[in-house]
Amino acid sequence: MKCPGPSCKEVCEFLSDFVDGQMSAVRRLAFEAHLKACPPCAEYMHQFALTIKLSKKCCCPGKPTLPIPDDLIKAVCAAMAADQPACDVSQARCDTTAPLSKQQN
């Protein structure tokens, strides 16, 4: 079978450029012509693109955040207070028990 345009190897080796949109319009057209005429490469491209999609979907679950433990905040604040230059050290202290909104008042 003779595929049009670039070889199957060339298509597979530059699929990231194709998928990421980092390809010139002319080259992209040649790739698209190849993919249209070559079912194995089209299937490979499909799986390749799906792999990228799955990486994102599976590593970023619905709840993208985790609570920061109070003891972590206390430890960082304590370390920064210990670092404080010889001015008003009390400025660097924080009360991790008070709600943030209250502190800002």
């Binding site: 990231s16 799955l54 619905g62 502190q103």
Partner: protein, 235 residues
């Protein structure tokens, strides 16, 4: 949690500058700031309440990033703690050309990478067998078997827990130099230039590694899919 201590217990590596240099920040994040000005001034003035506000408001998302990078919450908390300390100690390097959240995200990633370098000293495994092979005419040597629509969550629905777990496990088995690039580019959405700066490699190396990582992961997922089919066939 394994390590939350008073200030004098922090190991010296915590004082390492994980924050990008000013020229690196400019290279990776040219956008203008969006109103972090007053908060940044407070941080530069070493205001403890500003520290806490930043940690409470931006910390949860940063911790989630660290868990994705490191695979467990204990290491992630340590990395985030290191990152906050490094950021606060190096606030003078923050010139406001990027958003504070973006800057901190990069620092957390740096902290995670530093932790990975010290913990994952497993020998790099070749992924050559996972890459496609071609005959003399440039065609693939092995036929590509199709993935049935729906079996890998290839619609717009969220993948189920089982598939999510399998994909994560397969990503974890990639050699570190490939896993790191894939995580930064395809999961954390850094661009090629940003990834190159964070990893200290050329953009060309990032592109090459990313492509190979994606190819290798596709092959691993292919084995998962076809393995399931074999089991189904055996039932």
């Amino acid at each position: 949690m394994s390590r939350v201590t008073a200030a004098d217990d922090f190991p010296s590596r915590v004082t390492a500058n994980l924050a990008p240099r000013a020229d690196e920040i400019e290279a990776i994040e040219p956008e203008a700031d969006f109103g972090d000005g007053a908060l940044v001034l407070q941080l530069k003035a070493r205001d403890g309440k500003a520290y806490e506000r930043v940690m409470r408001e931006l910390g949860p998302r940063l911790l989630a990033t660290a868990v994705r990078m490191l695979g467990n919450e204990d290491d992630a908390r340590e990395a985030v703690q290191d990152a906050f300390l490094s950021a606060f100690r190096n606030m003078q390097n923050f010139d406001g050309k990027s958003k504070l959240s973006t800057w901190l995200h990069r620092i957390v990633i740096n902290a995670c990478l530093m932790k990975l370098r010290t913990k994952r000293r497993k020998p790099s495994v070749s992924i050559e067998t996972l890459l496609p092979r071609y005959n003399d005419e440039g065609h693939m040597e092995l036929p590509i078997q199709s993935w049935r629509r729906g079996e890998t969550g290839n619609d717009d629905d969220a993948p189920d827990d089982s598939l999510r777990q399998r994909v994560r496990e397969e990503i974890e088995t990639l050699p570190e130099e490939y896993r790191a690039v894939l995580m930064l580019r395809d999961v954390e959405d850094l661009d090629t230039a940003e990834t190159a700066v964070v990893l200290g490699v050329s953009e060309s190396a990032v592109k090459t590694r990313l492509h190979r990582a994606r190819q290798a992961l596709r092959a691993k997922l292919d084995l998962v899919v076809r393995g399931e089919r074999s089991q189904e066939g055996g039932k």
